[in-house]
């Protein structure tokens, strides 16, 4: 692999389905847990997505954690939210991240701070996610800072990603908003966790009709559920998420809920692979269940992962 290039991008470009998984950095200053999780993922994923203080809870920085992952041999996709930094801090962090070898960047607005462990913090939102995407592309394409000033050295050349949530409202605007992100310069898209396959299918049909899948690689987000309580929690307490009652019921009635959760996830992947057009890969968000990822990748026929020279 040519140094400085994103492996994730190369796999997506080659037309093979990509597989990424999510890693949450720890709420402390030791990298031990990240190293363990990274080793667990091994060669089952093409890249690991590192959250940036998700749900506004203070955790090790996504860039710091990303460097630990990189050292363990997995390519990170670093998340950058707009919640905690103004445009000066964002650019500064991006220069640092690139200098440390990080090549994939996921741009998002970030959960509101009231969900986290510092609800009285002042939020920033100096720029929003779409503005951030455009600004990161400006750095790469025009070698300019957000202000318009030119770089006097290496510009960061990130593979730029964004998120899309087909399950938020207004539904009819969701594809427009995705298109806006692609117009702003997003090269890959990671969707919110999918449980409502019917709505996701409709969403992807609209994307394909507009050719959006040809302008950006769309990774479908899936989350294996450990228990019916986890399903109920996502259903009732996480904004922007749709979990059909059927799934909750199925888990509740299952003899082995973990096994059933894994099966549901495998069925979803199979369905998306076979029935939904325009999907370029899968992003597995195994919330507090990292050890299930290898099993899911293997059982869904996504293993072995392609090797990029």
């Amino acid at each position: 692999m040519e140094s400085g290039k994103s492996k994730l991008k190369q796999i997506l470009k080659s037309g093979r389905l990509a597989v990424t998984a999510e890693i949450s950095p720890p709420k402390h200053a030791s990298a031990e847990m990240i190293v363990q999780q990274t080793r667990l993922l091994g060669d089952y994923v093409d890249a690991a997505n590192i959250t940036d203080c998700q749900t506004a809870v203070v955790r090790m920085s996504s860039i710091g954690a990303g460097v630990h992952i990189l050292r363990e041999g997995i390519e990170p996709v670093v998340q950058m939210t707009c919640r905690d930094r103004n445009r000066i801090a964002i650019q500064s962090d991006l220069l640092g991240a690139y200098s440390l070898g990080i090549r994939n960047l996921l741009c998002l607005s970030g959960d509101h701070q009231m969900f986290g462990n510092h609800p009285t913090a002042k939020n920033v939102y100096d720029v929003d996610s779409i503005q951030l995407i455009r600004l990161v592309r400006r750095m790469k394409d025009e070698k300019l800072f957000f202000s318009g000033e030119a770089f006097n050295g290496q510009e960061p050349r990130f593979f730029v990603g964004a998120v899309a949530n087909p399950f938020a409202d207004p539904f009819e605007y969701r594809v427009d908003r995705l298109e806006k992100k692609i117009n702003a310069g997003a090269e890959f898209i990671q969707t919110q966790t999918i449980y409502d396959l019917e709505r996701f299918t409709r969403f992807m049909e609209m994307c394909v009709a507009r050719g959006l899948h040809e302008r950006a690689y769309i990774l479908a987000g899936v989350t294996p559920l450990k228990s019916w309580r986890a399903a109920r929690f996502l259903q009732t307490s996480v904004p922007g998420m749709i979990v059909p009652d059927d799934i909750v019921r199925r888990l509740k009635n299952a003899e082995n809920q973990q096994e059933e959760g894994k099966n549901i996830c495998l069925e979803q992947i199979k369905y998306i692979k076979e029935e939904v057009k325009g999907v370029s890969g899968f992003h597995i968000i195994a919330i507090s269940w990292p050890e299930v990822v290898p099993d899911i990748v293997k059982s869904s026929g996504l293993y072995p992962r392609p090797v990029i020279d």
Partner: protein, 230 residues
């Protein structure tokens, strides 16, 4: 209108613990309209402070008055005689009032009885909601007359974010998603295409971080050149 609410009586009492006589100054402007700092509220606060202090065995003497507006010097000048023999002045205006009082009466201890909250409108009697973030760079013309800077919890200009469901904001199911409102309004107007355009980052230097903002209408400025004013 500026919406301000009174601080808890115990907090205000704490600031004036060492005082024997205080002047409470209400304001005839916004806080009278939002029923928190007008004549009636000034009298009630004075009485509450007196009662509290009597119970504590350290009686407090109070004087009350209401300035037409505390944000204009000419209405504050009238307080000169009332201020003379008090240990503290308690302002029931928005944050401008205590600063104006402190500016004029430099040797007096000025206490603010209020928390200044936001620029709001009346939804119904006794219920006000924030409508303007005073950002100095209005985007209402792009957003169907609904302000995302203050009515969206993330102030995003290219919304709605992924947390919007059933018309409500992710932070609270009682809070309308400003971008759902914007979307619905632009749809009625046949202007949904507006939402496809990428709105560039905002110039926040016109907001609070550019130092105190100023507005000058030269023609009506006192001391301006009469010829120029003409």
């Amino acid at each position: 209108m500026i919406i301000a609410e009174q601080k808890p009586v115990a907090e205000i009492a704490g600031y004036i613990e060492s005082c024997n006589k205080v002047l409470l100054v209400g304001c005839g402007g916004c806080v009278t309209v939002c029923l928190t700092g007008g004549e009636k509220e000034t009298e009630i606060l004075a009485s509450a402070l007196r009662i509290k202090r009597r119970q504590e065995g350290k009686p407090l003497e109070t004087v009350t008055c209401v300035a037409t507006r505390q944000c204009e010097p000419e209405y504050i000048d009238a307080l000169d005689s009332a201020v003379r023999d008090v240990d503290a002045i308690i302002s029931l205006a928005c944050g401008i009032g205590p600063q104006y009082l402190a500016g004029r009466y430099k040797d007096k201890y000025v206490v603010s009885a209020m928390n200044t909250r936001f620029a709001g409108g009346a939804k119904r009697h006794g219920f006000w909601e924030e409508y303007c973030g005073l950002c100095g760079d209005c985007v209402l013309n792009l957003t169907g007359g609904i302000c995302p800077v203050i009515r969206c919890a993330k102030s995003i200009l290219n919304g709605p974010c992924g947390g919007s469901q059933n018309g409500k904001c992710e932070i609270n199911r009682d809070v309308d998603c400003a971008w759902q409102l914007i979307h619905d309004r632009l749809k009625i107007l046949g202007r949904l295409d507006t939402l496809k355009e990428i709105v560039p980052p905002k110039d926040w230097s016109r907001s609070r971080d550019g130092g105190p903002r100023k507005m000058v209408i030269e023609d009506v400025m006192s001391g301006s050149n009469p010829e120029k004013a003409n």
